[in-house]
Amino acid sequence: MITEKPPYLGFGLGLRPQHYDEILDGNPAIDWFEVISENYMIEGGQPLYMLDRIRERYPIVMHGVSLSIASTAPFDMDYLRALKGLAGRLQPKWISDHLCWTGVHGVNLHDLLPIPYTQEALDHVVDRVNYVQDFLGRRFTIENVSTYVTFAQSEMTEWEFVNELARRTGCWLLFDVNNVYVSAFNHGFSAIDFLQGMPRDQVVQFHVAGHSHEETHIIDTHDHPVCDEVWDFYREAVRYFGPVSTMIERDDNIPPLAELVEELDHARSIAGEVLGGASRLVAAE
């Protein structure tokens, strides 16, 4: 089991097919890329070819959306084998997925669905994270999701749940700054309480993203630039956690690469203001 804490990588972007050529033809100021694992669980062709070329130049982390770690359905072992196979090919710095479920009874709803924060759910997810970590031979990384409902059955806060999960499994955490902001707005809790409830040493990555405001609730759409409020919360997160590998996540209305690099530079400048020179320490590959 690989238990060593992953290195600090600096400032990265989600790899999107629209940007393959710009990345390979130029030398954009991007320290690393995150890839959606499922998009590369394919047999061949251009996507895997481009990914291999980009992998030759940049550190890669893998980010999945279909592990369904909190589902009460059995694991899809073909999926886990494909995940392990892709990890063997890419040698990612870490592998993440979400604290959520995506379906039961063989159905995939292709969404990151919420769970009740109960002791039963915690025990269940702890077992499943341990299983995945044993299967992959490395610590896994779990991300908090944006949620739109809370459950009457919940017995603890989300951050208490995440903290306990991290303590019991040793998993790493992907702290999604935008998701905490969204869920805090939707459910009326304090984003700072969530932040301060996280185990500092286990957070290895930040996601920063845009969202859609619907007056009474916010939907996590990843189709807008990052808003000022989320940048403010990012500043708090950097202050609390120190240098953490940061990534801008954009999945829809994908702009030219240069626009995302500008957003990334904004993250760099915030981290620079908060931390001084420490944010520029990028571990060698």
Partner: protein
């Protein structure tokens, strides 16, 4: 208290079947009612899959127009819950779904248009294989040619259409003047495959399609030539067969050769 399993069952039924039982387990927020909040998941499910189908079946969308395509997509989503880890394969049943749909009973070109789009998508990220080059065949001793068998490119997909769906696809893709759909006097054979990074298709003559199908089964070259001779006359049959073969190689439709093991030729070794 409801178990996690019971909650997930109800939650999923709430999304897939519109069942409101789940609402008894979720809270209103201080700003919004639970039904609206749960509705975010309901709406997202349909919207996400509809968007994916729109990307997968862009030309079917263009052909049918927004309204008819939206109805098709809605019916498909309702009848085909995804069982795939990636939404990439969610729409894979669309050609068969359209073919069985009464709405399109008089429009067989729609299912064929969908079949062509699906085949192109499958070829796009199908397995890699180094294409066979003409120079590779220089290794084949002249007296071994009759026993040559070919490996087709692993992305190759053969389709046979009753309509001019391939012509429709081309017109839609090029945003050219609309083409009138029609049933063809004879079925049209098509081959879909990937050349480099590009998924392509090519109409095949009946004779070429016959030879391709037999070659893909591992029939050796001498027998392919005999079949071509039987099909359209012995006159220049070998030349016709060799011309098809060269075309396949030039367009990266083949991935290798070997010698038919059923006809051992001890004098030849690879």
């Amino acid at each position: 208290m409801k178990s996690l399993k019971e909650i997930q069952d109800e939650f999923q039924r709430g999304i897939l079947a519109g069942d409101d039982a789940i609402l008894a387990n979720v809270n209103d927020s201080s700003k919004e009612e639970r039904k609206v909040l749960f509705g975010v998941y309901r709406n997202a499910y349909v919207a996400r899959l509809a968007e994916i189908l729109g990307e997968d079946y862009e030309q079917v969308h263009g052909y049918l127009g927004d309204r008819a395509f939206a109805n098709l997509v809605k019916a498909y989503i309702a009848g085909n819950p995804s069982d795939q880890r990636s939404a990439r394969w969610f729409g894979r049943h669309m050609p068969a779904f359209i073919a069985k749909s009464r709405t399109f009973a008089d429009h067989p070109e729609v299912a064929e248009l969908a079949a062509l789009e699906k085949a192109l998508a499958d070829a796009f990220d199908g397995p890699d294989a180094e294409p066979l080059h003409l120079s590779d065949l220089a290794e084949v001793p002249p007296d071994a040619w009759p026993d040559l068998v070919f490996t087709t490119h692993p992305t190759a997909i053969r389709l046979t259409f009753a309509t001019n769906a391939a012509e429709l696809w081309t017109a839609l893709k090029n945003e050219a003047d609309p083409v009138k759909p029609m049933k063809l006097p004879d079925p049209q054979a098509l081959l879909v495959w990937r050349e480099g990074f590009m998924a392509r298709f090519k109409p095949l003559s009946t004779e070429e399609a016959m030879m391709w199908d037999e070659a893909a089964k591992g029939v050796r070259f001498s027998v392919l030539c005999e079949m071509v001779a039987t099909f359209a006359g012995e006159d220049e049959a070998e030349l016709r067969a060799a011309t098809y073969l060269k075309g396949w190689i030039d367009m990266s439709m083949l991935a290798g050769w070997s010698l038919d093991p059923r006809e051992p030729r001890p004098s030849v070794s690879r």
